[in-house]
């Protein structure tokens, strides 16, 4: 059974069709880089995967559980699917520690001590062990994003979604976040990244998915797809982003 399975998924915003008959299958341990122009539907696709956005037709299965089914317990599903956003979305009124331990305590019913232990573990993974008692606004953008990744990791998800996680950061802060992503990828996490970081995609993704006009326009192994695009659209996209 695939970790993630999309079958003929379509989604509209009013009259606008943002996902058009998307089918995609992702296995455990894969690192998928979704690339494409803005408006191609890549962020929407990600947000449909954990049920933040409803779809109009088709099926999305995560570990065999149907996301777009009213009987599915989305809360349970989301415990296994972490998502990291472009704008971090840390809780500004809570310390780094509370940001990370909130869901483990409330959702996984961990004791405060247990949750804090996990918080310090995940913070160590993102290189911020010394910031456990800081407030979000005391951190740089790059550090905030690393805390957001740690917050997701603390739930021990089976799949992680990254929605342009470096797009809001200055170039010098992008590197520190990418290094954290590399670490997560090396640990064998199944990851789906919407990204503009072609360098990162080239080195750490196992597969490239190029989206265009709401469709999976072209996909394949990284080296092949990037060096030998089959469609004119991917070729012109790559020419634009690589030069």
């Amino acid at each position: 059974m695939s970790r993630v399975e999309l079958i003929n998924v379509s989604k509209n915003y009013g009259p606008l069709r943002v996902l058009n008959d998307v089918s995609l299958s992702i296995e455990t341990g894969e690192v998928i880089a979704i690339i494409g122009r803005s408006g191609s539907g890549k962020s929407t696709l990600l947000r449909c995967l954990n049920g933040l956005e409803p779809i109009q037709s088709g099926e999305i299965l995560i570990d065999g559980v149907k996301v777009n089914d009213p009987d599915t317990d989305l809360r349970k599903l989301r415990q296994n699917v972490g998502i990291v956003f472009q704008s971090f979305n840390l809780f500004p009124h809570l310390s780094v520690s509370d940001n990370i331990t909130l869901a483990p305590r409330l959702v996984l019913k961990q004791s405060p001590d247990q949750a804090r232990k996990i918080a310090s573990d995940v913070l160590a993974r993102v290189g911020l062990a010394d910031k456990i008692d800081a407030m979000p606004q005391q951190l740089s953008g790059g550090q905030q994003q690393r805390v957001a990744i740690a917050r997701s990791l603390a739930m021990n998800p089976q799949l992680m979604l990254f929605d342009e996680v470096t797009s809001a950061l200055d170039p010098e802060l992008t590197g520190e976040v990418l290094r954290v992503l590399e670490g997560v990828a090396r640990d064998g996490m199944t990851m789906i990244l919407v990204t503009h970081e072609m360098g990162f995609a080239r080195h750490f993704a196992t597969r490239i998915v190029f989206m265009h006009e709401g469709k999976v326009w072209e996909q394949g192994a990284v080296a092949d797809t990037l060096s030998n695009p089959q469609t004119a659209e991917l070729k012109s996209f790559l020419d634009a982003v690589l030069n």
Partner: protein
């Protein structure tokens, strides 16, 4: 018989202010309970709840508080349901305060970025957990200055309860003025007492507002 306006009268006025404070506490507590329910209804994803709360708020904000006081105090007794002044005041002020606090708090709730809800939902938190641990704490900070502002309005509006028999600060002033025939001195004293209650609150509200603006 006309007597002098002396220290004794001032002490009486200060004592009458305790009814003003008691009415304020009652009105604010009742209003807060109604307001909280209305605010949550107003941001509900279930349209009938939103519409019902909105209609309620429109009606109450479009009618005078005095009419609500009369309606509960005189109206209900004529309808065969005699209520005492406290009960009538409790209902009228809760209805009135709820409509205003509901709108203030709704504004504060929607001022918290929608991405905060998303972040909570994505971690598997329930609606109530998101509300309780993520949205409310942030909304309280936003809502505190305007809520205190409304509290000040409420303190002053408790004087309307004099019309249904409460001898609170304003009514005590009227009585004192009638027996001393010193309206100017009496009402200046009354005004000073209101001011001394309200001024610290407005200052506090201003300080919180500044701190909130710095914090963002």
């Amino acid at each position: 018989m006309i007597r002098e306006f002396g220290t004794g009268d001032i002490v009486y006025l200060v004592f009458a202010a305790r009814w003003t404070l008691a009415l304020t506490a009652l009105a604010f507590t009742g209003g807060a309970m109604v307001g909280l329910v209305l605010a949550v209804m107003r941001i509900s994803s279930f349209a009938p709840l939103r519409v019902a709360a909105s209609i309620y708020i429109q009606i109450v904000q479009g009618t005078p508080l005095l009419v609500w006081l009369f309606l509960f105090y005189f109206g209900l007794s004529i309808a065969g349901l005699p209520v005492n002044a406290w009960t009538a005041a409790a209902f009228a002020y809760s209805i009135y305060g709820g409509a205003f606090l509901g709108e203030i708090w709704r504004g504060a709730l929607i001022a918290v970025a929608p991405t905060q809800w998303e972040a909570g939902a994505s971690l598997g938190l329930s609606y109530i957990q998101q509300m309780r641990h993520i949205i409310m704490p942030q909304a309280v900070r936003i809502a505190t200055p305007p809520t205190i502002g409304f509290l000040v309005q409420l303190i002053k509006n408790t004087s309307l309860a004099a019309t249904i028999g409460f001898v609170e600060l304003t009514r005590e002033g009227q009585l004192t003025s009638a027996s001393t025939y010193k309206p100017f001195a009496v009402y200046i004293t009354v005004a000073c007492i209101y001011f001394l209650i309200c001024f610290p609150l407005t200052q506090w509200s201003r300080r919180l507002e500044e701190r909130f603006n710095v914090a963002r």
